[in-house]
């Protein structure tokens, strides 16, 4: 059960961390100054959440590694983030589509985790839920603005959805680790989260005059198993550069 729990915490933490890292890439490039502030704020929340999940994972691992060691010392095959969040930012339509698809799933998962039988998880989730409620509201509004904005923004949204939709397969399919943890009342029920996610996406896409694609199909990759797209390696090369170059340094 402990191994399952560690895997689960890494999934939550790594996903939040990589999404936060992608948001950092927007610094100085956002389409409006107000958005600079907002993107960085969402990123700040997510990196903070990642730290909480990874700290708990590090304690359970109990092998001397810290949350920082987990974030900056593991390679691609050990990362457990969702494939969706490691995809390149693209334009604002791609960025907001990724953000919204993640937020909608994240929101329901955290809601369930607030009732986790593991008190530590429930505590972290309760704090994170407040933040993610706001993230979802914001990204959902942007999906509507871009979807039902101009012809150009609508076309860009269609292209963005086309580009990242296939990675949502991970939001729908449960695996044994999560099923065991969910049965014990520790993790979120995957099917429940998948249904809530689809309902939210359908509602917002409809308001945004965007079609909801048919469910994505399973394919070879799986973030949960550490089988990532080629993008993750570059994210890590950048993010982990300092601790890897100066292994004995104190920052």
């Amino acid at each position: 059960m402990n191994d399952d729990l560690i895997q689960y915490l890494l999934r939550l933490g790594d996903t939040a961390l990589i999404q936060g890292q992608r948001l950092c890439e927007w610094c100085g490039n956002a389409p409006a100054l107000e958005e600079e502030l907002a993107l960085m704020n969402v990123g700040l929340d997510l990196v903070g959440q990642a730290r909480n999940w990874l700290e708990y994972a590090a304690e359970l691992l109990n092998d001397g590694r810290t949350a920082d060691d987990l974030a900056f010392g593991r390679d691609e095959r050990s990362f457990r983030n969702l494939l969706l969040v490691e995809q390149p930012n693209g334009d604002y339509a791609v960025t907001m589509t990724k953000q919204f698809l993640y937020d909608a799933w994240h929101f329901d998962v955290l809601q369930q985790l607030c009732n986790s039988s593991d008190e530590r998880i429930a505590g972290i989730a309760a704090k994170a839920l407040k933040e993610v409620t706001y993230h979802l509201r914001r990204s959902g509004e942007w999906i509507q603005r871009l979807g039902d904005g101009t012809e150009e923004s609508h076309a860009r949204m269609l292209a963005a959805i086309e580009q990242v939709w296939r990675f949502t397969v991970e939001l729908g399919a449960a695996d044994e680790t999560e099923q065991r943890l969910a049965a014990a009342g520790i993790a979120a029920d995957h099917d429940k989260a998948a249904n809530a996610w689809l309902a939210e996406v359908t509602q917002i896409f409809t308001l945004a005059t965007l079609p909801v694609p048919s469910p994505a199909n399973y394919f070879y990759l799986s973030g949960r198993k550490g089988l990532h797209t080629e993008h993750l390696g570059f994210i890590l090369a950048e993010m982990q550069y300092l601790p890897r170059t100066y292994p004995n340094a104190t920052w």
């Binding site: 950092c24 389409p31 502030l37 904005g149 950048e238 550069y241």
Partner: protein, 330 residues
């Protein structure tokens, strides 16, 4: 100083007797330390100078995010990443407070930003230097924010109400930036490896002089100062502020165990201040003219962000109109 060499367009200072009644009343109000508010009458030169100064200050905050953006994806720990992200958010926020103050003068934010993008408006020269190591994030916080704070603390008492209030808010928030930067350097110097210590010293070597340049030209080459001081949109001279910065920074430098790249830097018992060497003013003017190491990158990055985001802003407006129409029909 975040605003350098702000043109007032005024050749000679008028005495109270030479002023028309309206201008005289305005100047007397300033002399009595009563704030000028947006709807009060003000001379056009005062308005235009303030727009230039506040927009330059705001541009500096926004361009100042870029060197930090250069490192935020490579911050070496989760804690440092969070701190830097919070700081970047503040810079964007401070830019917005300032643009907001500027807009009370009737200036348009987009137009003023476009002036920066086409080279007509300036921002602080310091951000045209590259940030080449993580230690630069510490040195920027300590030296660059430190220099900015020396200037901004004084500007809290500036004569224009909205500018003064923006400064009060900014100073309150910015005090953490300098401490954060210094603490990063201190950690590297006290607990770090030799490679890290070398990184810190190298960073100080590169950023020391550009930080001193932030206060602008020396007083004798500061033709606009007299008018700006009379209007109290500047409250102390460039050299006074620079001296204050050096005096407060040298003991901190010594505590770090680092040195400044200035053989003439030494305590002058008689003056009660530190003496320091001559600034390379040629370099300062070249950087200000656009010939610094990063001018092109900084400006083109900002221009590109706004241009390539046009479709996003247009979509938001189109959507808002459609929603308004729906509400009107209902």
């Amino acid at each position: 100083m975040y605003a350098q060499l702000v043109e007032t367009g005024v050749k000679r200072l008028k005495s109270l007797d030479e002023m028309e009644p309206q201008e005289r009343a305005f100047q007397e109000r300033i002399d009595a330390e009563i704030k000028i508010e947006a709807k009060n009458w003000m001379p056009d030169a005062y308005r235009q100078t303030l727009i230039r100064q506040i927009s330059q200050h705001a541009h500096s905050e926004i361009v100042g995010m870029l060197p930090e953006g250069n490192w935020v994806t490579r911050a070496p720990s989760l804690k440092r990443k969070l701190q830097l992200m919070a700081k970047i958010q503040d810079e964007a926020g401070h830019g917005l407070y300032l643009y907001s103050a500027m807009e009370t003068l009737g200036a348009d934010r987009d137009e003023e930003i476009a002036k920066m993008h086409n080279g007509k408006a300036k921002y602080s020269s310091i951000f045209n230097y590259p940030t080449l190591s993580w230690a630069d994030m510490g040195a920027v916080g300590w030296l660059v924010d430190g220099a900015a704070i020396v200037n901004q603390v004084v500007l809290q008492r500036t004569s224009y109400g909205p500018y003064s209030r923006a400064m009060v808010r900014i100073c309150k928030e910015e005090s953490f930036h300098q401490r954060q930067g210094y603490q990063m350097l201190l950690t590297m110097m006290q607990e770090g490896t030799q490679a890290q210590k070398d990184m810190v010293q190298d960073s100080i070597n590169r950023l020391w002089w550009p930080s001193l340049m932030m206060f602008g030209p020396s007083d004798e080459h500061s033709p606009n100062s007299a008018q700006s001081m009379a209007w109290k949109i500047k409250r102390q001279s460039n050299d006074e502020l620079r001296q204050r910065f050096v005096d407060q920074t040298v003991p901190q430098l010594e505590l770090l165990g680092c040195t400044a790249p200035d053989p003439d830097l030494k305590w002058n018992e008689e003056r009660g201040h530190y003496d320091f060497g001559e600034i390379q003013w040629d370099e300062f003017y070249e950087v200000l003219k656009g010939n610094g190491p990063c001018n092109q990158e900084r400006v083109s990055k900002r221009r590109n962000a706004i241009e390539s985001g046009a479709w996003v802003r247009e979509a938001a407006v189109a959507y808002a109109r459609k929603q308004q129409l729906k509400r009107d029909v209902a």
